[in-house]
Symmetry: C2
Subunit: 321 residues, 2 copies
């Protein structure tokens, strides 16, 4: 079995983009990188743990893709341009095939976003993956959670609840009508909304990515901005399948509280709404106005029949019992 | 038991230095940071896993200290000035006392080096700690592993084998003569040589930190620089206790192959040696010339009796069987 350094050399070096701003890449004590003088450095890190975020028998290629996607989604939510990543993998044993497949998924996505792997390590232990990602925003700062203002319109990208529905079907908790492979793709291969995040800066100062569910993630914006939110459920953008699920079951928790969609939720001043929607009409990813920032606190929702849900269920929190 | 966000808020925010270059700190999708326009960004990350790097019953305060120390040592080895860190902790359960003690050790060291914690997460799972650290070097780049040249003198800082001897004593494999608490301190609370690393740039372009043992870490320099190295064992800087151990046992593997000292090994051109030693004479940390970079490959060592060890034992590698 090869030593750690052989593994790093074989699977990590040259695995990703080759960026001119990388002065020194993998293989030294640190990587050395050039941040443009007129920009801010944006950094984020996330750990995915076996038995918690995924099962031990996870397809390593899917895990490699998703581990990076989750981090790219944090960049998207800040309106940042991703550039570099470090990857720390803990593995029960040095499984070359596993690592190769993992890097295949990781590298595919890294290439899409011109991200170069510049460091990390491999360690023996219970399976987990920790990624630190770095990128840039302009000097005015990015899309913060504390910048929502009363009267702002609330938008989301894409459709909500697709990943959650795919999971319910996979767990045998719902029998779908019709074709499911689009939803499986949404759960296994989320598309980080990086291009959208970078475009939003012209209109918005406030965004978050929807990893724990719209209600829960919007609550972070409300708490940090000192405001409340009202969602209009009949405006929520739903795929055909999720729309059918809600019609069948009356269960709005799926689009409101299911996580893993990695769409963006963002706010913008009402006076920019018309211009924003004109411009956004030509973008690849649909954006939909789903509510309004209000005085007060907490996330409320108006059902299609006009009734109000006073406290939208908060999403999954890792240490909540 | 509190949710993840409460834990982050309570233990991580305001835990460390408050730097003016942090535009946006903990609590958003990304941190936003100002890198001086005339400098390079240096980044490094490391994971410490229970059962591998430490035991499950480790003192959390000592772990918090050491986890950051290991990362600061990477900054030191690059000659970088540390600035920010992210901390991902995976814990079997949300143990507030454990986290508080961990952060106590982490924060103490962070304060010493003016490092601000700017992100991270807490996850449920088998105990492990993953830190990503960021800092700066000047535009000429830092102290690289690939910059040793034939004829360069090889130096090390401090003394070698102290942490290794403390471990042997703790494991009952050696009965020390005399007092041991200095060596315990060397194992549990290594001093990252950050100030030394930053001073070296005037004389050296090549350094590594000694985490796996001098032989093994110097081998990385040799491999990446395409050179060999000859060490003179009678020049190795040894503490009283390690000197006595070597005299008693004739076992040079302790100062050559034991890890965890976190001293620096570095090289500099022979013509700078006199000036370097004059200047270094006034520094806090002693530096000692222990050998010469030679043509060829591999690390050799000359015993005090003149005999040559052709291949200095390589240190511990995580996946080596």
């Amino acid at each position: 079995m090869p030593g750690e350094f052989d593994l790093i050399r074989r699977f990590f070096m040259d695995a990703t983009a080759d960026r001119p701003d990388v002065v020194l890449g993998i293989g030294d004590d640190c990587a050395l990188l050039q941040v443009p003088g007129d920009r801010l450095l944006a950094i984020s890190s996330d750990t995915l743990v076996s038995g918690h975020h995924f099962t031990a028998d996870v397809d390593p290629q899917a895990l490699g893709y998703k581990a990076l996607a989750v981090n790219l989604s944090d960049m998207a939510a800040m309106g940042a341009e991703p550039a570099w990543a470090s990857l720390c993998i803990t593995l029960p044993q040095a499984d070359e095939r596993w690592l190769k497949d993992f890097m295949c998924g990781f590298s595919e996505l890294a290439a899409c976003f011109d991200v170069q792997l510049v460091g990390g390590d491999t360690t023996r232990g219970p399976l987990s993956v920790s990624i630190a990602i770095q990128g840039f925003t302009d000097r005015q700062g990015g899309l913060r959670r504390d910048a929502a203002r009363v009267g702002d319109r609330i938008y989301v990208s894409g459709t909500l609840g697709d990943a959650g529905l795919a999971l319910r079907v996979r767990q045998g908790r719902y029998v779908p009508k019709g074709e499911m492979c689009t939803l499986d793709e949404r759960l296994d291969r989320p598309q980080p909304r990086v291009a959208l995040g970078r475009r939003l800066g012209k209109f918005s100062r406030c965004a978050i990515d929807i990893s724990d569910g719209l209600g829960s993630d919007l609550m972070h914006i409300c708490e940090q901005s000192g405001v409340g939110a009202m969602l209009n459920l009949d405006q929520l953008p739903l795929s055909l399948q999720v729309g059918r699920y809600v019609a069948d079951t009356g269960d709005w928790s799926l689009p409101l509280s299911a996580g893993d969609d990695y769409e963006l939720a963002f706010t913008l001043p009402a006076e920019l709404q018309a211009e924003f929607e004109r411009e956004a009409g030509s973008w690849d990813v649909p954006v939909t106005c789903v509510g309004t920032i209000e005085p007060g606190e907490g996330v409320r929702a108006r059902l299609p029949d006009g009734r109000i849900i006073e406290e939208v269920t908060r999403g999954y929190e890792h240490f909540r019992t």
